[in-house]
């Protein structure tokens, strides 16, 4: 006889672990579907460079395949690449790491983050992360059985972490603070003095700092400072980075983590069992990028800087108040004066003018009232997008 199910969940749904079943699916899925169904819209909704990986780097990946380098590499990643990563960090970030023990090559910075969460978090541990933030942070923390604690930043502060706000959120269960500056989606950068204050709080409360600096080359301020370069922070900082954004290598999936030996060793165990190693040809391409790709990278950066100047001025001109972002390739204008919510604004702009932007609510607390626009988009498209936004604002 057939068993009658009166529970609304199917048999298979019930198999799913509660902490995964409980993960929120992105609230703006519906909006994404709308964008994807529209063939002729100008999209400012992407999160990657509009450049193809510079040819010299691509050619190295191809050469690697031609040479038959198709086996595994060491779990930590090719020694040559780790050495180059550490040299690069020393040169550009004034951070000192031993390539043999304090550096691991991962499948994008996403994997590095996941390794850090899993290595550090015991069930119930809290991780404070600044918002608006990249969507994976709270999910990654929750998947590692941690409790994500959002720390909203504000436009008045230039979207930097306010030390007093941070202190208020620290509890006995707080394990780590997760920073992402230059920030996706706000484009904010924190300066030396601001980072020092965060560092002091971390030391006082014995917290780990995870710093996702995937956009760090793309900082347009005069000085770029990494919290990892403070000598008294090394023992409690995991520096997370990769080649996706600055070197236009998103599809290659190469990231890395650097930190004290004990933490990297713990992350290595997870990486070893779960991943083995990052793809070999991509590691060889990454090596080329760090060795000889800096000039191409700086040219791309200059192009983002120019487009930023052009685009942000245009947004303000159209009546969307927008701070000048000091990093990454996103503008994060306020839409509050339109009286619309972020999602309403994005949906109407898409339907009426066929311009796609990402509603700020996608990035968590503090995101309402803003939209994210990626200016790593062709100059002609940016120009046309501004014309359409201006027309939209004039209605």
């Amino acid at each position: 006889m057939m068993k009658i199910m009166n529970d609304s969940k199917s048999v298979s749904e019930k198999f799913i672990a509660p902490h995964i079943a409980g993960l929120p699916k992105s609230g703006i899925r519906k909006f994404f579907d709308l964008v994807n169904a529209m063939d002729d819209c100008i999209s400012l909704g992407v999160g990657e460079p509009d450049f193809t990986t510079p040819w010299g780097i691509r050619e190295s990946g191809i050469y690697s395949l031609e040479s038959g380098h198709t086996g595994y590499t060491s779990n930590l990643g090719m020694p040559k690449l780790r050495e180059e990563v550490c040299r690069y960090l020393k040169r550009n970030y004034h951070a000192d790491y031993d390539p043999a023990k304090e550096c691991i090559i991962t499948v994008g910075v996403s994997e590095a983050l996941d390794l850090a969460f899993r290595a550090l978090i015991s069930p119930g541990d809290e991780v404070i992360y600044a918002t608006p933030a990249y969507v994976s942070y709270p999910a990654g923390i929750a998947m590692a059985h941690g409790v994500p604690v959002p720390l909203p930043t504000r436009m008045e502060n230039g979207f930097a972490v306010d030390p007093d706000d941070l202190k208020k959120l620290i509890s006995p269960r707080t394990k780590a603070i997760l920073l992402n500056f230059p920030c996706n989606p706000t484009g904010a950068v924190m300066d030396r003095a601001q980072l020092r204050q965060i560092a002091d709080i971390a030391i006082e409360h014995n917290l780990v700092v995870l710093t996702d600096e995937i956009y760090s080359e793309l900082c347009y301020a005069e000085e770029y400072v990494s919290i990892a370069s403070f000598p008294d922070m090394k023992e409690r900082t995991v520096f997370l980075h990769g080649l996706s954004k600055a070197f236009a290598m998103t599809g290659w999936r190469i990231g890395f983590a650097c930190g004290p030996e004990a933490l990297i060793d713990a992350m290595m165990k997870i990486h070893q069992y779960a991943i083995m190693c990052a793809p070999t040809m991509a590691q060889e391409a990454a090596l080329e990028a760090l060795k000889r790709g800096e000039r191409s990278m700086l040219e791309m950066k200059e192009s983002y800087r120019e487009r930023r100047n052009f685009f942000v001025a245009g947004l303000n001109d159209a009546g969307l108040k927008c701070l000048m972002p000091h990093g990454a390739f996103y503008a994060f204008p306020s839409v509050k004066e339109t009286g619309m919510s972020s999602e309403e604004f994005a949906e109407k702009l898409l339907k009426e003018e066929r311009v796609a932007v990402v509603p700020g609510t996608a990035f968590g607390p503090g995101g309402e009232g803003f939209v994210r626009c990626c200016y790593a988009t062709g100059a002609a498209e940016l120009r046309e997008a501004l014309v359409r936004i201006k027309r939209f604002m004039g209605r």
Binding site: N36, S43, D50, N184, N309, F310, A379
Partner: protein
């Protein structure tokens, strides 16, 4: 220097409007960009504006025949190569002309309506100029890249429209 920034953008796209150049360079007024460009034109830094074209893709009408010619020259006591170079440069058939280090002295690009026209130019005009010792002509069969523009189109790769 602001002049160099403006030049860099114009080299990328000479049709960029001044308002965009101003914003991208962080120049506060469009008038200032106009002044900079006018100054560059007046001083002869900017010699003109042309389009980069794929001549082989032009349909209808005979495509121009182009040749690259290496020329050996006897330099003169007064003025070195300049005298001969200036003389050659004045021919409208010559589109580019440079002085080169290495085995030949002048390298020039010429174009004409037909192979015969180009051949005649080399034999009758170029080779007979006083001071020209020898010429070596190569006809252009196909152009792959010019002024940073690749002529073959890569397959279109569709970028994600929206992602975090």
């Amino acid at each position: 220097m602001m002049k160099n920034k403006v030049l860099k953008l114009l080299r990328e796209n000479a049709r960029m409007d001044f308002a965009e150049i101003a914003l991208r360079c962080g120049i506060s007024s469009v008038q200032e960009v106009e002044d900079i460009v006018a100054g560059l034109e007046r001083s002869g830094v900017i010699r003109g504006y042309t389009a980069v074209t794929d001549d082989f893709a032009v349909s209808g009408g005979a495509a121009m025949v182009k040749a690259i010619i290496e020329v050996k020259v006897t330099p003169r006591r007064d003025g070195g190569f300049d005298h001969v170079a200036q003389r050659i440069a004045k021919f409208p058939e010559v589109t580019d002309l440079i002085l080169l280090s290495g085995s030949c002295d002048l390298l020039l690009t010429i174009q004409g309506e037909s192979l015969q026209e180009v051949a005649n130019f080399v034999a009758e005009k170029l080779a007979t100029i006083d001071g020209v010792i020898s010429t070596s002509t190569g006809f252009m069969l196909r152009k792959y890249k010019e002024s940073g523009r690749i002529m073959l189109n890569d397959e279109n790769y569709e970028r994600l429209k929206i992602c975090f």
